[in-house]
């Protein structure tokens, strides 16, 4: 199974995603320059965190027009796996691959800290290996992670299992205090109807080694790998 990490001008967690896939999970991975027009040969694309185009205007607004994005959209429509982390999530939203929008944290400040996540849907390609009730400890680092969507869409998403991760306390309770950015319904990550595109604000690639304070991010990547192997 081969991963591709898309590099936009201003991406800066590309390196970290690449590192965790290659050095920790020991899977083949390559960088994909944003001007690439083809993504053939890749089984899962990662849109990494960072500040594509400086996050000018709105996060992800300019990057979503990069040439590579047509190929990403096309791959997603074929059912290929796409994972957007932080800025990558924002790009997927701007590209219309996921519903909703992300805007300023209610604190109006950037926040870099560990958060805890509960999983609402364990039957996506990204969450298949999660044990029931497991709380993941994964850090965030963003200034615009406040998820917003209109109430009807939210209801539809809930019914279809598109809400994947929610911010919670270490004990797994989705309280207002556990919400680091004001997101609607403590939402930290969502997927599309077909469940093959996931976007999340927390950084699983930063929680891949004990030295970094948590290895809880690995299960997301391992689930992807398992899903791919099972579906062959």
């Amino acid at each position: 199974m081969k991963f591709g990490v898309v590099v936009f001008p201003g991406s800066n967690c590309d390196l970290d995603a690449y590192h965790v896939i290659r050095d920790v999970l020991k899977k083949p991975v390559e960088y994909l320059w944003h001007q690439e027009e083809s993504v053939s040969g890749f089984d899962c694309l990662v849109l990494p965190g960072g500040f594509s185009y400086g996050d000018y205007l709105r996060c992800g607004a300019i990057a979503r027009f990069s040439p590579v994005m047509s190929a990403v959209v096309e791959m997603a429509s074929r059912g290929g796996l796409v994972l957007g982390i932080c800025n990558g999530f924002q790009i997927l939203l701007e590209a219309g691959l996921l519903p909703g929008a992300l805007y300023r944290n209610t604190s109006l400040q950037f926040r870099c800290q560990f958060t805890h996540l509960v999983t609402e849907n364990r039957s996506t390609p990204f969450t298949g290996l999660l044990e029931p009730g497991r709380v993941l400890k994964i850090p965030i680092a963003h200034g615009e992670g406040n998820y917003c969507v209109d109430p009807e869409t939210l209801r539809d998403m809930q019914e279809r299992g598109q809400i994947v991760f929610r911010y919670a306390t270490p004990e797994g309770e989705t309280t207002p205090e556990a919400n680091p950015n004001g997101s609607m319904w403590n939402i930290a990550g969502v997927c599309n109807e077909r469940k093959n595109v996931l976007g999340l604000m927390p950084h699983p690639e930063r929680a891949g080694e004990a030295a970094l304070g948590s290895t809880d991010g690995l299960v997301i990547f391992q689930s992807i790998i398992r899903h791919w192997e099972d579906s062959r």
Binding site: L57, A61, I62, L93, R104, T106, S107, G182
Partner: protein, 82 residues
Amino acid sequence: MWKATIKVMLKKSVLDPQGQAVQKALHALGYQNVPDVRIGKYLEVKVALADRESAAAQVREMCERLLANMVIEDYTFELTEA
């Protein structure tokens, strides 16, 4: 040549944390008589086109494609000859 002045605002239904923070700050400075603050973006975009119609059409298109995020924002604009 036309100059479009574009205002992009969060939809009424979307909470505006920045507007609220500024309102609070204004109250703290003693301006208690400010019941509402909303904050958005203001853009000045020049467009080299001759007629107003096509300039307006292009501005609308640029707003919907890039300048505003229609999921959470609304936009309005005015054109003046430049």
